[in-house]
Amino acid sequence: MADDALNQPPVSRPPGPAAKPARPNYREPWQDPNAQPYVQIVGVTKTFGPFVAVDDVTLDIYRGELFALLGGSGCGKTTLLRMLAGFEIPSQGRILIDGVDMSEIPPYDRPVNMMFQSYALFPHMTVQANVAFGLRQERLPAGDVRRRVAEALELVQLSAFAKRKPHQLSGGQRQRVALARSLVKRPKLLLLDEPLAALDAKLREQTQFELVNIQEQVGITFVMVTHDQDEAMSMATRIAVMDQGWIRQTGTPAEIYEYPQNRFVAGFIGQVNMFEGLVTDNQPDHVLIASEEADATLYVSHGAEVPAGTVVSVAVRPEKMAIAGQPPDDRHNAVQGIVQEIAYLGDHSVYLVELPTGRTVRVKAPNTTRMTEMPVTWEDHVWVTWRPDAGVVLTA
């Protein structure tokens, strides 16, 4: 069913909330052993002189995904995107799109279009001519060009601006022209380089949803580069977290957040408390870790493939911790300390608790009841606890 929905040619529906389809029974293709990856990046390395921008990256992207490459500046995400577009040639490895090896294919012959961070609109052409440019290169009949340009402009709600020049548009409108221009050729793959970076914060959130809606309407596979984790989390089907040219973890936003595979990912996405410790007992259903740093024994209710005696880190998200004035019954996963800082943020408060070892623990607690007086206040002696399934054991 999901496959049928994705194989249909893009239909242009009138824009608006009524026409918005729910994500159509999206069966996660990366969990289906029979699914054919649509974009295959196989052992790709890119070097610029001595500098390794992308280091032996292997990645499968499936049809209909909105895939995000997430990382800080200089992590290689943009270089990887430019290799998909054909502007950079891999030093090693292969890129296949829909089964076709792209190594020898120049950018102008690839079934791939890109939306540039600067939008890269042609300043001397009208909005209409900008969008038509790609179709004109295919030498389509003028009638077809006109019809498809009109459709694309309608999709991004810019029909009224067709005769404007780019410099007569606002930032958000330019962004939508760039989107229409890259979608109008119906590429197999659409690349988006920091699509929202140039917009102000308010417009950015609105555009996030618009972009996801449009992607669902047209059914084109999107690969997006971003440094903004909120953007990646809220838009992407899957995220690849990159650092120094490597992919550190690939997974759905929830997997990346809840089950980070290494300290980098745990620290990069969201906020986290990490305690270093020694594995004292390793059972199939739980692990016990003695942490000097936390001055406590940590209990993690999932097995980890590490022998006793290994030094590991336990990562616990601040919102999965609780703060209390009384010692808990279970002394596992309980640390005590003194409240140093409280940030009251309305819907929740953030507490910084200093442990006797000098470590600071960040606790995020929802303010579920209206209170004028805090139950916990500065300089209080408190206990911070978390459930056995809250922690993640990290070895890397």
Binding site: A85, G86, F87, P106, Y108, A120, L121, Q137, H167, K185
Partner: protein, 281 residues
């Protein structure tokens, strides 16, 4: 004395120093006296006499043809050089080439002229071309030094341009040569026109290089003026010089306007877009 007065007199003195001689020349071109140093009332007869002076008129046509041809070649070659410097990434020796393109700007004209003369003489000995010195050699010489100016103008225009615009065109299916024709060229057109006008003006102005590489019967206007002044300054030359100043100033002003206009228009349109007026349909 207030600061304003000091500044104003410095400005006035500076500009007087620059423009008083030219102003005098223009005034004396209307002088109704055969002796250039004695004022004899207003007249236009020297301008009329110019029209009857065949050698000056002939030199004028030589200069004009040389200027048009060399400016056009300078734009073609200078654009290629500017493109290479601005677009082809970091190739080996890029800094060297970048520096060398500006050398003709600072090279003494005597040396440029002499070395070109040597080149032409050697070439004629080796391959028989160019046969003798004349208009062709002046055109080649002027192209040589004017293309440096064009290259610099084109390069600065290109480096101020978002390179991803060209990439976007390629991404949308245009081959590199087509990208150059339909995207790059229209965007750098003002720089090309400005470069052409500058090259044209430089060629019209040049005396030294042309003197080295010209041959019999191919004297340019500056050469003709210079040689006739050696026989004594006539009011006719003042009239000619006045026309020349007019001609060159117009060229320079148009080039300047073209270089500035696009920038100003972009700023104005940006303001328009952000002031919210663009939101109205």
């Amino acid at each position: 004395m207030s600061r304003g007065v000091v500044l104003f007199s410095a400005l006035a003195f500076g500009y007087a120093f620059l423009y008083l001689p030219i102003l005098l020349l223009i005034i004396y071109s209307f002088n109704d006296s055969a002796n250039v140093a004695i004022w004899g009332g207003w007249t236009l007869r020297w301008y009329g006499a110019l029209l009857g002076n065949d050698s000056l008129l002939g030199a004028f046509w030589v200069s004009l043809r040389v200027a048009v041809v060399s400016a056009s070649f300078a734009v073609a070659l200078g654009t290629a050089a500017g493109l290479a410097l601005a677009r082809f990434g970091r190739f080996r020796g890029r800094a060297l080439f970048g520096g060398m393109i500006t050398a003709p700007l600072v090279m003494p004209e005597v040396i440029t002229g002499l070395s070109l003369l040597l080149l032409f003489v050697t070439l004629q000995g080796l391959i028989g071309w160019p046969a003798g010195r004349g208009m062709t050699t002046i055109m080649i010489a002027h192209t040589t030094f004017a293309m440096a100016y064009v290259a610099i103008i084109v390069q600065s225009r290109l480096s101020g341009m978002d390179e991803s615009v060209e990439e976007a065109a390629q991404d949308l299916g245009a081959r590199p040569f087509k990208v150059f024709l339909v995207i790059t060229l229209p965007l750098i057109a003002p720089a090309l026109v400005a470069g052409w006008l500058l090259a044209f003006t430089l060629s019209l102005d040049d005396l030294v290089i042309a003197s080295f590489v010209s041959g019999p019967g191919s004297s340019t206007l500056p050469m003709e003026v210079f040689s006739s002044v050696r026989r004594g300054v006539s009011p006719e030359i003042n009239a000619l010089a006045t026309l020349f100043v007019l001609f060159v100033s117009v060229g320079i002003i148009i080039a300047g306007i073209l270089l500035n206009r696009q920038e100003r228009r972009r700023q104005r349109d940006d303001q328009l877009a952000y002031s919210g007026r663009a939101q109205e349909v």
